[in-house]
Symmetry: C2
Subunit: 207 residues, 2 copies
């Protein structure tokens, strides 16, 4: 099956399966069932079997899944069986917090460049990375062939910076800025991290 | 229809509809169609009609939706036709960035209390709010009858703080800490903001 034919909602669940399986593995659990995995995630066993069946045969009836095997397969499917270089644009409080997020490396990502336009920040370090001038961003990202960027700039300049990232050859943006980006969907993937969208999913159930 | 009978995946789309409609309204657009709304979001018109039909009759065949009406209805359904008080726990870089996020107020939320355990931060301000000692958190949140918390503490203490939030009477946690919380699902809603889950949804489509 062509990967664009798989519904996005199924694709969105795969990283949750992977995260949960990696956690179980860390806890010393090496085999699991659709039922057990589903109980952890809050989803039915049938849904998990149906989702995974889109990608192949991963478990055996009655014996369940080998966690190391399923982790390896999911990493391949999600293309995180390698490490992706990531550029971080905007090193205010949010960008700094994200640059220090401890989980990236062993889950497929590595922040290799940080950019800001504030002269007070350019040349200083976030972790091991020296903050570079945004004015050099397009050239630097293109040269390094970086395809993924995290956008942690103010909303007022987010669209302009995102347009520059497209020029630099980036094909995936994780947008933390509080604005919806207007991007050509055929050449770039955008995910928007918006706390309000997630808060409202909870207040729906609250009085 | 009882609200717990509506699939969570539909509930998760409602805030996106609301956000998009509010943006259109800001742009001076007062009427729309399922097709136009769907094109903006990247979803089919049929899906939008099907989702909304779970909650009532909002548009008329041929004339489309009144945006102000649909915004008001979605705000009621999501219970953001009022302002929810929110406690923020952890005022490092990430917490500080979130406290300054400009969008909360007009989308249904207001951060009213901030907590940290760092003596260097207690008594200082984030925006207009004085950071209070985490040791007083359970009592303060309970007294103020706050039901929603944002958790921006290090992963190593996130579970303990979340357990304390449950004791304080909180029923919804937006978890930014890089760990999955183990919480009783019958008494508390949890949403996890994890950049890696969203990055992996994009690398799926990338080579």
């Amino acid at each position: 099956m062509n990967k664009v034919d798989i519904p996005a909602i199924i694709v969105a669940r795969l990283p949750i399966y992977l995260e949960t399986l990696e956690l179980m593995y860390k806890e010393g659990i090496y085999k699991t069932s659709s039922r057990e995995l589903g109980d952890r995630i809050g989803i039915t066993a049938a849904q998990i079997r149906k989702d995974l069946s889109q990608f192949g045969e991963f478990g055996k009836q009655g014996t369940g899944y080998s966690i190391p095997n399923l982790v390896a397969e999911l990493r391949k499917i999600l293309h995180v069986d390698k490490i992706w270089d990531v550029a971080l644009v905007g090193t205010g409080n949010l960008g700094t917090a994200i640059a220090r997020y401890p989980e990236f490396n062993h889950r497929g990502f590595r922040i290799v460049m940080c950019f800001d336009s504030d002269p007070a920040l350019i040349g200083t370090k976030v972790g091991d990375i020296t903050i570079e001038d945004s004015a050099t961003m397009i050239e630097r990202i293109r040269e390094a062939n970086i395809k993924i960027a995290m956008l942690t700039v103010p909303g007022s300049i987010a669209q302009q910076v995102a347009d520059d990232l497209v020029k630099a050859g980036v094909t995936a943006i994780l947008n933390y800025a509080p604005v919806a980006l207007n991007m050509p969907p055929d050449i770039i993937h955008v995910q928007h991290i918006d706390p309000i969208l997630q808060l409202q999913q909870m207040t729906y159930y609250m009085d």
